[in-house]
Amino acid sequence: MVEGVALPLFVLFFNVDLSPALGGILLTVLLATAGFVAVGTVFGAMVVRTRFAELMLPVLLLPFLVPPLIRAAEATSRLLAGRPLSEQADALTFLALYDVVFVTLPMLIFSAVVDE
């Protein structure tokens, strides 16, 4: 949701021209966001039960978010530099794989988090 607002604002303020690679960038953003949301939901549900939730969440999330974040950043920066989408196949495969794994897995184990 925030990205929907933030992305156009960044384009406006930093005067970036997205048009040559808009499709690729949107694809990267979507893939990365899906992974973020999936992992974030599980940990969010867990840390609310701890004593210092607002501190625990980043501690646990960071190791899971950094790999997709770096790959997504690499892909978008190369796309913005005008490199073709086909060249980013590696990064996008990584993101897609990550999404598949980290969306499926929490669905299987989420009941352990919310069960009483």
């Binding site: 501690v59 899971f64 990584f94 897995l105 184990i109 988090v113």
Partner: protein
């Protein structure tokens, strides 16, 4: 009243024996690597650290996978022993990860010319280490023992799944770190004398892993027994 801790003592005794054996083995491994293994042509003496770095890295990965498997089984079967093992394995994994992250830069400095680089594998190993620290922080932050075990298990499974991404990162995400030479689909690309020392390294670190896990398991078992005894007598 004192709890009956004999079961825990037996585990701790076994752990102590295995740990001493493992540490002696590490000393023997270093002697073998320095004295009885030929110098690598391009890297010279600096390459010797390879025989400590790689086995500890592999065992760190195995330890995290063991944690994940035990966690998954714990969620399924609800056996306390599995949770204790997952905890012990995660703690040893953190230690092994620390060994990897210490020996790596010592090796990197003379060969790459830098202590650290934000290459894919280095970065992910660092974050795996943070994750293992987070695992223990999360457990410490939960008061309810059942919740501690359940959330620990969920995180353990997630950590296990992260390991293949790290192991494959060298291939998916090329950087300074060399590609796997032994744990890869084709035959190991290493001369036999070096492979022999490396295999001894795997064995030695395996014994050390089992020893440390037993020690940690024994401590946790003793704690559980003590808590249980306190609860029944109170």
């Amino acid at each position: 009243m004192t709890a009956d801790l004999s079961g825990a003592h037996a585990v701790l005794r076994r752990g102590r024996v295995l740990t001493v054996l493992g540490l002696a083995g590490v000393a023997a491994l270093m002697a073998l690597a320095v004295g009885f293994t030929p110098l690598e042509v391009r890297q010279g003496a600096a390459q010797k650290i390879f025989y400590v770095h790689v086995p500890s890295a592999v065992w760190a990965e195995i330890a995290v996978i063991a944690t994940g498997l035990a966690s998954a089984l714990y969620l399924w079967l609800g056996d306390r022993r599995l949770d204790r093992f997952a905890l012990a394995s995660a703690e040893v994994a953190a230690v092994l990860c620390a060994v990897v992250l210490t020996t790596g830069p010592i090796w990197g400095k003379p060969i790459w010319g830098t202590w650290w680089t934000w290459d894919g594998r280095l970065t992910l190993t660092l974050f795996l280490f943070f994750l293992l620290l987070g695992y223990h922080t999360l457990r410490a932050a939960l008061r309810e023992p059942a919740e501690r075990a359940r959330f620990g298990a969920v995180l353990g499974i997630m950590a296990m799944v992260l390991v293949p991404f790290i192991h494959l990162s060298v291939i998916l995400w090329p950087g300074l770190h060399p590609e796997p030479m032994v744990l890869k689909p084709s035959a190991p690309s290493l001369p036999w004398v070096m492979l022999r020392t490396l295999l001894v390294g795997f064995g030695v670190f395996g014994v050390l892993y089992l020893g440390l896990v037993s020690l940690r398991y024994g401590i946790e078992l003793a704690r559980d027994l003590r808590e249980h005894a306190d609860a029944t007598h109170a």
